[in-house]
Symmetry: C2
Subunit: 429 residues, 2 copies
């Protein structure tokens, strides 16, 4: 089969008829498959079931420092949980605050604190005429929702193979003191799966910002989520904390992470790590918002994951379930779409997503076609601020939830929809 771009009108029409017929057959099957969200599969959740046996009515419910985890107290987390989360956040336990069940909430609350209180003495952002935020695209829709909800203007910047387009970022932040920060998913980025290079990390840490209180929201959601046992060399991310200290901007970053995709999403433990000055400022307000977070769940996690020592083994088991799904996605996309030359996609070594680029102007149509054939994708546009992908070309593929056989069927539908949308466009032109 030649590339679609090289086909004659008649060939395109014949291909369209064939693909449309195939689509009709698929749609008639009454499938109900979901590749919309980065949800772990049932098999992944089962890996953490033994954690539910760690604490029972006979267990020792005291933390190592004697804290009764059944009662009030301990704002920043029990020592063993701080060590666990420090391992995950690549930081020291004293720089960590263990929080509730979700890093999303930690990020939302951190942004709200800056709006209400400012950062280390700066004007509360909510009192400024405008606040802007850099959003590497494609990016994570829930990050963008936080900005939108809180009235922060989003500025998209391209995400490259090794992180955000740093020339563009540097150009923007030096010129406009209303730009207060940037979203970063430094490892296996959502959705493209790329990992930031050391140079990117250093430039983010060192760049000259018009806003003195510029903040990098470093969402290390997939810090240990590689498909193979050990991460590739290029997937070991330079520590943003160290880079910021070295660059003389020690308070520029906040690191976020959680065990959501390690144990149980929604019933895990989240945390942040930051500079001593930022930690002190956060604790001052957090101590009014909360007496302490769920220490029994902290204890459960710290013991089950052996304060981080068991993470490599545990994540290898996740990887063994995830890897084959990403291989299948890659295989299906290559088999069905490579020859036609109508799309590109990423092939990550970890994380939860593949970023797919179809022909301009087809993403919404592809997602609509898939939905009508029983396959739910992440909404087109979701990977852009305000849901507005100007090229209407990017789609996030989330292969984690369905079992392999369902994923196989879902990818057949998806690739068929891509072809159909592309052909519809080519024939109409």
């Amino acid at each position: 089969m030649p590339r679609y771009a090289e086909m004659s009108k008649a060939e395109l029409e014949a291909e369209l008829a064939e693909v449309r017929a195939r689509y009709g057959e698929m749609a008639a099957r009454g499938l109900k498959l979901n590749m919309a969200r980065g949800k772990p599969s049932a098999a992944q959740l089962e890996l953490s079931l033994p954690m539910l046996d760690v604490l029972d009515s006979e267990a020792d419910l005291a933390a190592e420092d004697g804290t009764d985890c059944r009662n009030y107290g301990v704002l920043d987390g029990i020592p063993e949980a701080k060590r666990l989360m420090a391992a995950l956040l690549d930081d020291e336990p004293e720089n960590v605050i263990v929080l509730g069940n979700a890093s999303l909430t930690a990020m939302y609350d951190a942004m709200v604190r800056y709006l209400v209180f400012g950062a280390l003495g700066s004007t509360p952002w909510g009192r400024l005429p405008e606040v802007k935020w850099l959003c590497p695209v494609p990016g994570y829709d829930r990050h963008f929702s936080i900005c939108e909800d809180l009235g922060i203007e989003m500025i998209p910047v391209p995400l490259c193979e090794d992180g955000p387009d740093m020339e563009e970022v540097e150009r923007l932040v030096v010129a406009d003191d209303a730009i207060k920060g940037i979203w970063c998913v430094p490892k296996y980025s959502n959705p493209s799966g790329i990992t930031y290079s050391d140079e990117t990390v250093r430039r983010l840490a060192a760049m000259e910002c018009a806003a003195d209180d510029f903040r990098i929201f470093w969402d290390n959601a997939y810090a240990v989520h590689h498909f193979s046992g050990d991460p590739a060399e290029q997937d070991i991310v330079l520590d943003i904390a160290e880079a910021c200290r070295e660059a003389g901007n020690p308070d520029r970053y906040l690191k976020f992470g959680s065990t959501s995709k390690i144990t149980f999403p929604g019933a895990g433990v989240a945390a942040l790590a930051a500079s001593p000055a930022n930690i002190a400022e956060i604790k001052r307000h957090l101590g009014v918002q909360a007496i302490g977070h769920d220490k029994l769940n902290q204890l459960r996690h710290a013991r089950f994951l052996e304060e981080g020592a068991r993470l490599p083994e545990h994540m290898a088991a996740h990887g063994a379930l995830m890897g084959p799904k990403f291989e299948l996605v890659e295989k299906k996309l290559a088999e069905e779409l490579a020859e036609a030359g109508i799309a590109t996609w990423t092939n990550p070594r970890g994380g939860y997503f593949v970023s797919f680029e179809g022909p301009a102007g087809t993403a919404r149509r592809i997602v609509e076609l898939a939905k009508n054939a029983g396959v739910t994708m992440t909404g087109a546009g979701a990977t852009w601020p305000y849901g507005d992908d100007p090229a209407d070309s990017n789609i996030r593929i989330a292969p984690s939830l369905p079992p392999l056989e369902e994923l196989d069927a879902a990818m057949d539908v998806f690739t068929c929809c891509v072809k159909l949308a592309a052909l519809e466009q080519l024939v109409e032109e």
Copy 2:
């Protein structure tokens, strides 16, 4: 012994010498006792230990509607947890949002939302020149901290036997549209232990407020926390939701509650209940801040407490542990202080606290003396906004944590300190 007020200078000096000697003996014992916070005792925590066996690796981890409680989702709570928290909040499950581990966080976040977004279309409170809040006194220090942290000006109003002084409240709210709300602990109030009368509830619901978006923060922290099996008739609080609806102010209230003092503080489940319009508004922002809360903990609680059916039995067991402590406090205060005529105190039928009024100008001294003798009390002033008790007379007694024998010793110290401070003042005058 006559009342101190009737003693001669010589008699007072003799009494002072005697009390001072007794104080010295007590201080020499090296006690380390704590009546500072409303923490449940170890014996109370043990009542909920079986809850840790409810969910293990063999358990069915699906909610009744099939939701896998191990995975993402369900913003407002699984159905069985909504029923449990509706029972606690005296409301319908559809008006309930099940939240994280603490009603304190729920209240802080609700206040922040009003600052950032306003209430049902009103101007965001954070953009107003000033926001004021009514604070019945004596009251709960963590409520006051929320206002102070967020820059909301607190106006104290007297708390009477049947709730806030409603004439004062009505006079204030009708005259000043900067007054946006009031803290209420309607049952076994913190610290006085009083319960609001039906008339108080109706007047709060119906009063004319200059601010259209006036909100009652209804912290029903001790809804089921009576010492005897059944609450007294006067401890059955009129439903604020019903009263607000009847008065034509259906959106005026937000109810808050948690299982902190039912199961495990910090590892419990919190919730709010509100009108449909308020629930919709809260969900709109909460859905950005969180994907969902800890459903495994919701499931654990719903099953252990049988969606509320087991609450009466479970709270009776708490009451059987708490009742004798409050009896002991009452007995010690009466025995040691009644004759001297230097103090008054409350004698609640539920909750966690006794409110103690010593001679004006002695509260700080009493707390200092107690601390130096090894007994930590809640800080003097804590029951007033900004920690400023203008009479310096009110002290919160929190008898829940120490076992009976320790409480006995602590109350001996406390009553001795009260006498000593009173005598120091009388002799100096």
